[in-house]
């Protein structure tokens, strides 16, 4: 399906820019990882940008988003600042968590981004609870939970589907189906016809779309999120996509069929959106300029992050809890 987005080249261009920002952020994160400036696991969102951007385009700041391990794209799309995110990846003061969380725990509560999550599917149950709180507090906000096609096989996600429908909560589950979980082809460990049928068996309307088609994502999100905000109860969108890189930066994905990757490149969202923009009046120069602008913006954040101060080791002992907070020194340590 298409949305009125097709009539709004300017909005497409803005969303395209956000996709470029995510792509550039992820490329820079990967390079910084290999340069030894970023530690830990860096799960890149490369090739899936249109999903987060298309969904979040239809959210308000007071709507919540819960993510998983692959959360950079979700965060930027929801409005988290890539500068603070880059600082967090570098573990510096000024990072979204001032260095306490890192890539797998990016969060920006000021824009309703409740956090990436290192434990698959734990974000799903958190989401339904947040939606329950909205109801108690009389807010008309909704919660969007991103889950992978591997994550759908965890019990907490399935419990959350039932729970969300039992209480008719304003929750949108978005399953990003890139057909793989780390090195495992999810088809081989997923019984039945897939997540759409499962969601329907819990009474949730399920919509399977081409996640790499920005227009289809935006159109579906606009309609579904509108319905949820108007009380439709929970729904699920299965966005078909493809993970163009390894599971994380240090995975060369040798288990991948090169032909498959080749084919996927032809469907990747940025090129597709770019082609549409070219056909709809944006010049090659304008696009090149936008790309250059985005690349230098991200490059600037990397440079700033590298120069930014490390957190004082004393901050390791703050933000734990009020009562019973850690006291440094032998006795309680």
């Amino acid at each position: 399906m298409t949305s009125n987005l097709a009539n709004e080249p300017a909005r497409v261009a803005a969303m395209y820019r956000k996709m470029l920002l995510i792509r550039a952020f992820e490329e820079a994160a990967g390079e910084s990882f290999f340069a030894g400036n970023v530690r830990g696991s860096v799960h890149q969102y490369i090739g899936e940008e249109s999903i987060a951007v298309g969904i979040c385009e239809n959210l308000r700041d007071d709507d919540y988003l819960t993510s998983n391990h692959r959360g950079h794209g979700h965060s930027i799309a929801k409005g988290a600042h890539p500068r603070a995110m880059m600082f967090e990846l570098f573990g510096r003061v000024g990072g979204t968590s001032n260095g306490k969380g890192g890539s797998m725990h990016i969060a920006d509560f000021s824009v309703g981004m409740l956090g990436a999550n290192g434990v698959i599917a734990d974000g799903c149950t958190i989401s339904v609870g947040a939606a329950q709180a909205f109801r108690l507090l009389g807010k008309d906000s909704i919660v969007v939970n991103f889950i992978g096609d591997g994550g759908i096989n965890r019990g907490p996600f399935m419990e959350a589907l039932n729970w969300a429908k039992v209480y008719e909560l304003p929750v949108l589950f978005v399953c990003e189906n890139n057909q793989i979980a780390a090195t495992t082809t999810t088809r081989l460990v997923t019984a039945g016809e897939g997540i759409a049928k499962r969601a329907e068996s819990f009474g949730l309307p399920a919509h399977t779309i081409d996640g790499n088609d920005l227009f289809e994502v935006d159109g579906t999100a606009a309609r579904v999120i509108g319905e949820i905000r108007n009380g439709s109860g929970p729904q699920l969108i299965q966005a078909m996509t493809y993970r163009l890189r390894g599971h994380f930066a240090h995975d060369q994905a040798g288990y991948r069929d090169p032909a498959e990757v080749e084919a996927a490149l032809g469907r990747e969202p940025i090129a597709r959106t770019e082609a549409w923009l070219r056909e709809n009046g944006m010049s090659a120069d304008e696009i090149a300029a936008m790309r250059a602008e985005v690349d230098s913006e991200i490059a600037g954040y990397v440079a700033e992050a590298l120069a930014a101060p490390w957190p004082d080791e004393g901050t390791a002992f703050t933000d734990v809890q009020d009562v019973g907070a850690p006291v440094r020194g032998e006795a309680v340590q």
């Binding site: 919540y64 819960t66 990072g95 979204t96 968590s97 001032n98 260095g99 306490k100 969380g101 725990h105 969060a107 920006d108 509560f109 409740l114 956090g115 999550n117 290192g118 434990v119 734990d122 799903c124 149950t125 958190i126 989401s127 339904v128 609870g129 947040a130 939606a131 329950q132 709180a133 909205f134 109801r135 108690l136 507090l137 919660v143 019990g155 907490p156 419990e159 959350a160 039932n162 729970w163 039992v166 209480y167 703050t318 933000d319 734990v320 809890q321 009020d322 009562v323 019973g324 850690p326 006795a331 309680v332």
Partner: protein, 321 residues
């Protein structure tokens, strides 16, 4: 002063907090009609409605996980797990999420939830319904751990747990539900977290305990008094933070420390207290705790597991010998 049971006092404390703050709510299985395993929620669904006393599916992961989300989103949920044994179905939600969110997100999140999970032996409910895993949660940064021993504390500490801005593991002892005690209805103040209670003053030995074992320790102290042995009994009330100063002061005075808990002795919280006191004061320390066996069903076997007053008294005599 009014006489009421441990369960009634908890119900009173919860009701007071629900009246005081509309953001306080509870979720769990069979809270409405049943009113909770011991009536600790009785009538509250009628009074506050099904959106604040929520009957849930049998979905422990989501009872705890939803509480985390609801707490982060600005409410104060009480996740009723019925038994600490069932709470073992939701450890990731409590330990990986609730306990760490504030820290991982650099202080952006607050998780004011109460993970309510009764512990202990009630009689004949065996290995999967009688455990006392409180030591686990003291080991988890970000969590507060509360173990009330009296009706008054089960009202006042529950109120404090609900008002706490961080996740609290609230462990009532199932064996105490029906035990009655004095409660001052007029005093609406919470009992502060982290402050121990001297349940009985004494000078020869300090006996530290919590939950149902406090009564056992007092019984032992009473019989020891008859032999001219003066035991001071401390009800820890909160395991994290535990009242280190009060325990060290008492043990410093008496010169001897005995920790008594129903939980398995190996790896129990008694080790933390005994080790801490031994490191600080170099006085004789000892621990009494359950054998490292699952809780058996049959009466004589269950009795064999329990730490009775006579064993506590005997251990004290040994220490004084």
């Amino acid at each position: 002063m009014t006489q009421m049971t441990y369960a009634e006092a908890a119900r009173m404390g919860l009701r007071e907090e629900m009246l005081r703050d509309p953001a306080v709510w509870a979720l769990g299985e069979d809270l409405g009609y049943e009113g909770g395993m011991a009536g600790q929620y009785k009538g509250l669904q009628d009074e506050f409605g099904p959106d604040r006393i929520v009957d849930t599916p049998i979905s422990e992961n989501t009872i705890m996980g939803a509480a985390v989300g609801a707490a982060i989103a600005g409410t104060r949920p009480i996740a009723e797990m019925r038994f600490s044994d069932f709470a073992m179905c939701a450890v990731s939600e409590l330990v990986n999420q609730a306990a760490k969110a504030r820290y991982m997100f650099g202080g952006q999140a607050r998780v004011p939830l109460v993970a309510r999970m009764p512990i202990g032996i009630r009689g004949g409910i065996a290995a999967q319904h009688s455990q006392s895993p409180e030591a686990w949660y003291t080991h988890v940064p970000g969590l507060v751990v509360v173990t009330p021993a009296t009706p008054a504390d089960n009202r006042g500490l529950l109120k404090a747990a609900i008002r706490c801005d961080d996740p609290v593991v609230y462990m009532e002892h199932k064996g105490l539900w029906g035990v009655a005690g004095e409660v001052d209805e007029d005093d609406q103040e919470p009992v502060p977290l982290g402050v121990a209670r001297i349940a009985r003053a004494g000078s020869d030995v300090t006996v530290v305990s919590w939950a149902a074992q406090v009564a056992v320790a007092l019984e032992a102290a009473e019989s020891l008094a008859g032999e001219g042995i003066s035991a001071e009994v401390i009800d820890l009330r909160t395991l994290w933070p535990w009242d280190r100063e009060a325990v060290l002061a008492s043990a410093g005075r008496t010169g001897r420390l005995l920790v008594v808990h129903e939980a398995v002795r190996v790896g129990g919280f008694g080790g933390e207290i005994a080790a801490e006191v031994a490191e600080e004061l170099r006085i004789p320390v000892a621990r009494l705790g359950g054998a490292r066996i699952p809780i058996p069903f049959s009466v004589p076997l269950e009795e064999a597991y329990k730490i009775k007053a006579d064993r506590v008294a005997a251990r004290v005599r040994e220490m004084l010998a």
